[in-house]
Symmetry: C2
Subunit: 456 residues, 2 copies
């Protein structure tokens, strides 16, 4: 394999390498590591405990540091940025993509930001400042400004000549993706020409005659969720971005959208389990404890709420001690049924599929599901309890409590995400805790309430 | 807007349209609907309750049916396939992509499959049969065979002439993505040439001199998880696929990988909540109940397990009734801490980041986190309980139970996913239920066991 080529490894090979780099002599490990593409090095760093990380980082050529920093997730990047001095950092970052760089710079204190900018050409500085001028979570933060635009009155032949001339001058290839943009004299986008068209259509055709005039443009302020659903639906590879004056300012490419999808998916799973979505999985025990303990604290509050509900029925409980044995059943069935309904709604919301027209249908369907499952499992449970404790009244109370609790739980589960969204709270973060608190409280109220009614 | 162009709408516009199509006169609604791209129509169908769906489907031009069926998710597609007659279905499917079609055909009974194949050219038949010959969940099922390959000894000029000649003959453009493949005389892949190279480098260069000889190839049997992590890490737009004899058989494109990512992400979230990942979100109440009730049944079993543990300590409970009031606290804190650890491990496993080298570090860190959180929240809880019930012994028992339970819970949460994976069980499906069952049982055992020890 030639020396300037990058080793492309499968994930398995990469993980093997990670476990065995430590056993190599440093010069060999250094050579192996620096042969890898920046993304693979980032994977190795992200999959390593802190001590191993520092060792790997020291083995890394300083010329690769910038690219590796760009490829790292925010949290792991922070780990290394803290250990670098400003000059080193500025140097290693200065030749990164404008939007990768903007992403990194938002993490840094202002003094370092200005030092990094000082190391760049004024054109690159302008690009980064432009990207930083758009709010986080919008298309603007992701635009790739390194694109080619042409005049509509050129021929394909002329455009190709221009590309080849540029290449001979600068030895820079065209960007690999996937179309060029046609602008009028004031910079307004009027068409796109896929590379495939440039390669297939007769060379004497004019751009204006071969350009696609129907295409999807993103406004620079389009939100992340809309970007994802649009790219997924239309299977775009890239899409042009315009500003509020309809002027072309760059494009959005699928690799960045893929990162957004991954991020959004991870955040949903992590948030629902009460994990900080920015937490490095290999953080120290103390950092991990801090980030997780908040959620446990919130959970403790809701557990105390349940306890007070039970305490409220203290007298009933004292008389019918078996209620204490059965109460986990009602609460856990309600919690689970509610969680099913909520998870379904969260997915629908994430895919932009909930509309004012179908939400009523969905809630109605959920209520039916809750009633049906309540009937099914309520009957089964009451039979089991009847056999276990030979107490028909107890069995009936439990069945009825389960029917009511399951029906309320699914309605709560299905409506909490939309309600939270309406109040601009992230439903993946707050949904689970609110749902558990309410289904537990409702479940215990039903069960003990009915028991008080029938047993005393 | 010209008549042959497709309207590209934002998701918001699309949802508005969906809510208002029903109010339009049918001819107008039909016209609006059939102007949309197939993917948008699929979105409308997927976001609609069954009745609305049937209305929309009837408005659809039969020429669009195949493309819309391909764009639908499996479950919603099934809904329509059941309503179509075989001839209609075979006709509408016959001109779809080979791997889209293979995907659909696996859903259909054999008699219909052969009818659909009969409607196709023998070349297309062969392609579909080839795709179907690979196991589900491998690259083979996703390959795009509609690609161009060239001889290494041609010049760029000659290749461009060939493209243009082909276009003039067939009026088919090159596929929009992103490189052509260079094969030797026996069909073995020896290089790739990005479109950008064809457009930038001097026209008299030979392919063999400009082709990239370092690239990532997928074996046709590569598994889905490895596809995803590799595409994400290297930000590929497409990648060539070879068979076991190193022969080139097609390529994998990013749009299909993006669907895989979405699918995998959705499945994780849905499975963890005990939802069937193949369930149509707008299925009828009865179908939904059936698919959800299995999980509730499993959950009921684990709830009975908890009840039996409590029942085992019946005598203690009778003497110290306040234990019943406090027991939800121990169980829910353990469940939550375990769930945090498990979710983190599931993410790491999905990203192929767990290795034999780092798992011990991770488990050790988790144990520390469990102990720390157990100390923190155990102390806080015991203080609260002391104030509430003025019973120092009770407070101490609860704190100790929480410390033990939290420590065991995080170790369980962190190790269950890897254990399940080792036994080839999907950890996202079985993880939650096993974790809840064990943390509840362990929690109640600790709490009541300690109480029995100290109070009797």
């Amino acid at each position: 394999m030639p020396n300037n080529a990058k080793l492309l490894l499968t994930t398995q090979q990469l993980n093997w390498l990670n476990d065995n780099l430590a056993n190599k002599v440093p010069t060999e490990a250094r050579q192996l590591l620096n042969q890898l593409p920046a993304e693979d090095i980032a994977h190795l760093l992200e999959s390593s405990p802190p001590k191993h990380r520092s060792v790997l980082w020291k083995l890394l050529d300083s010329s690769l540091e910038g690219a590796v920093l760009s490829a790292l997730t925010e949290e792991v990047r922070q780990f290394f940025i803290e250990s670098m001095n400003v000059a080193e950092l500025a140097q290693s970052l200065s030749d990164q993509d404008s939007h990768d760089l903007a992403d990194i710079l938002t993490q840094l204190p202002d003094t370092i930001v200005s030092k990094v900018l000082d190391c760049m050409t004024s054109r690159d500085q302008m690009r980064v400042k432009q990207v930083l001028s758009y709010p986080e979570g919008t298309v603007g933060r992701l635009i790739d400004t390194n694109v080619l635009s042409v005049n509509p009155h050129l021929s394909i032949q002329t455009v190709l000549h221009y590309f080849r001339h540029e290449y001979e001058k600068t030895h820079h290839l065209l960007t690999p993706l996937d179309e060029i943009y046609v602008l009028n004299e004031v910079g307004v986008l009027i068409g796109v020409v896929p590379y495939a068209v440039l390669l297939s259509k007769p060379a004497d055709c004019l751009i204006v005659d071969v350009m696609k005039i129907e295409y999807f443009v993103f406004d620079v302020l389009t939100k992340q969720q809309e970007i994802i659903t649009t790219f997924e639906r239309h299977r775009f590879v890239s899409a042009p971005v315009i500003d509020s004056n309809k002027k072309f300012i760059g494009r959005l490419t699928i690799d960045d959208v893929m990162s957004l999808i991954r991020e959004e998916a991870n955040n949903t799973v992590l948030n629902m389990a009460g994990l900080d979505d920015c937490q490095d999985a290999f953080a120290s025990a103390w950092k991990t404890t801090k980030s997780r303990s908040i959620w446990l604290g919130v959970n403790l509050l809701t557990a105390f709420l349940s306890s007070s509900v039970i305490n409220f029925f203290h007298d009933t409980l004292e008389q019918v001690i078996v209620l204490a044995i059965l109460m986990p059943i009602v609460a856990s069935m309600g919690g689970n049924a509610g969680c099913q309904a909520m998870t379904m709604m969260l997915r629908l919301i994430a895919q932009n599929q909930v509309t004012s027209g179908n939400i009523r249908w969905l809630l109605g369907r959920e209520l039916q599901v809750g009633l049906l499952n309540g009937l099914i499992w309520g009957s089964i449970v009451s039979l089991l309890i009847w056999f276990w404790f030979s107490n028909l009244l107890l069995a009936g109370v439990l069945a009825l409590a389960m029917l009511i609790n399951l029906s309320i739980a699914v309605i709560l589960g299905a409506s909490i995400p939309s309600l939270l969204q309406y109040f601009k709270v992230d439903p993946t973060v707050a949904g689970t805790v609110i749902l558990t608190a309410t289904t537990d409280a409702v479940g215990f109220c039903c069960f003990f309430g009915l028991a008080t009614l029938f047993f005393r």
